[in-house]
Symmetry: none
Subunit: 190 residues, 4 copies
């Protein structure tokens, strides 16, 4: 028998993400993906049960990539403010370096697919982030509000700024990062 080829499954992932960002959920099809990935449509079904299964696995795969990157360098000893700055900086780097991954996640997150697929967010990654926020609240450094709310003020400024950057409206450089880091810190600090 032949050996299963990791490249194939990766090629399928890449093709899917590219097409999703080019033409969107409404217009991708298994055969377009196959063509872009240089495999036969039926080959996709060697690696995945069906379209939904493939998208699900792709989502989890990319989500994990982003999560790992965001938490890079964070541990129990990281001071709160420095940690927040690092997370936002990591996020910026990930988003700018992986435009396709990021836009895919945004699109997927806002589609009803995600609910249908029962993709629970309370997985590893989020636990770590929440613990970090809670530590900040215990130290009276952060406002005593819902943890998700505090995280929101880190995530959206970065991602929306990145979107403006992609549109060409602004350049998301170090200076801009500093600006929003300051603004977000103003928002969340006690």
């Amino acid at each position: 028998m032949r050996h299963k080829d990791d490249n194939k499954s990766e090629a399928i992932f890449q093709a899917t993400i590219q097409l999703l960002n080019e033409i969107g959920f409404s217009d991708i099809s298994m055969s377009k993906i196959a063509k872009r990935a240089n495999v036969s449509p039926s080959t996709i079904y060697v690696y995945f049960e069906n379209k939904e299964d493939m998208l699900k696995k792709l989502y989890l795969n990319v989500k994990e990539k982003m999560s790992l990157k965001m938490l890079h360098g964070i541990n129990e000893t990281t001071p709160i403010q420095a940690g927040f700055e690092l997370i936002m900086s990591n996020l910026k780097d990930f988003v700018l370096d992986n435009k396709d991954y990021f836009l895919f996640l945004e699109q997927f997150t806002n589609s009803p697919l995600i609910a249908r697929m029962c993709l629970d967010e309370s997985i590893g990654f989020f636990r770590t982030l929440h613990e970090f926020v809670q530590k900040g609240q215990q130290q009276q450094l952060l406002k005593q509000v819902d943890a998700n709310l505090l995280l929101m003020y880190c995530y959206y400024p970065v991602t929306q700024m990145a979107k403006e950057h992609f549109k060409g409206a602004v350049v998301f450089n170090q200076e801009k990062l500093k600006e929003i880091t300051q603004m977000s810190w103003d928002a969340i600090q006690a």
Copy 2:
């Protein structure tokens, strides 16, 4: 008084939004929309050129609804901070009262369709908002950063909180609104 036409076109809009939020872009079809709207598929083509035209008009229609609501009560004499609070409050009301409209907008905004359709955002509504922000900056009340950035800090906290609310994770009440209004004001004030 509306005449027949408007009812049909409105029924088509409603059906589309409902289905989009139930099954997503990848699975809606003209015939499903027609069935839900209790019209014949061909009737849709009496009112719209094609699918894309229909979605475009729907988007603009809903976007305008939200815009009008957000700016309700704002004029040249509105003080800056009170204005921001009102905008966030208006947005909260719109989103909670019009879950379907809102989720549709979020889904649409994150899809590549919006780019393909050349839907320029610099339309009336945004000009008004930008002018409001610029006035705040001239009065030294707001940070001297990109206007979009300041607006981001108003928009996302409200909408993300609403999403949590829809998920059942929190209750988006007056108190929560106060919290995020304070946080956002901390973020954007000079």
Copy 3:
């Protein structure tokens, strides 16, 4: 709107029966049927929900045709033996005149589809036949055994002889009919 065309649905039926008898259940496909019927594959779905629905309706349609033919000329006053002879003669006529219909029924009856489709046989036609048999039993003309068993001795000799006829092994003429009518009567009479 256009007017639905009975010819179309009949053409689809005819094409299906022909192909079924030429290549069998394992090899028919909706597109082959469409091609033979000179319609587009999608047109079939205007008239039938899906393949199974089409086959089901076709079966019931043909079954009814055969039933009506078999009972032609039979009523409450028909004497038992003459009635049996008529039924067998009717059956012979139907089978020889409608080879395709008949072979389709035989094929269908022996496939698991029929069970899956919940096609209950206790419909009108069979009731009439059973009543006829029961009358014969009350008159002590027929053996006191299961009614189906008596009917079997009418049905199979005719149909199997017809199959031999189609194969070219024998000629199913009036004489042969007389032979088997006599044999079957010998079998079932009290």
Copy 4:
């Protein structure tokens, strides 16, 4: 002692028959058969040339099984009537003990596959049966009609009764066998 090969090929046969009776010719596939037989799809091609070859061999295999069973205990010295009774009894035993084999044969026999595969029936088994019938005709014990016709009156009552039995409509016991043996003998005797 069988060696590995026979087990696999037997497992493939069994899987095919089961699936054929469960879902029918139109829905079996080599991969479904492989899955049911716990082998790889490609393994089937070690034993058989292709799908048609496999079905053909399966048919001949099962047909021979039934033939041998039917003729069990019959030889040149067997008296005619006793022989007929024995054949019908053997057939009943085979059918009731091997429901799957039997239903498979019925399905196969009524499909056009059998014609396409050029499966000539005048093989060993049938010769023996025909010789038996001819002997009966020479002894003036049986009606002077086509031999197949006489055999028909043995075969169908048993098999149709068995089908009723499988449906749960009747219980095909010794008594019922006696009934139909009598009826069939009435039909065929001179």
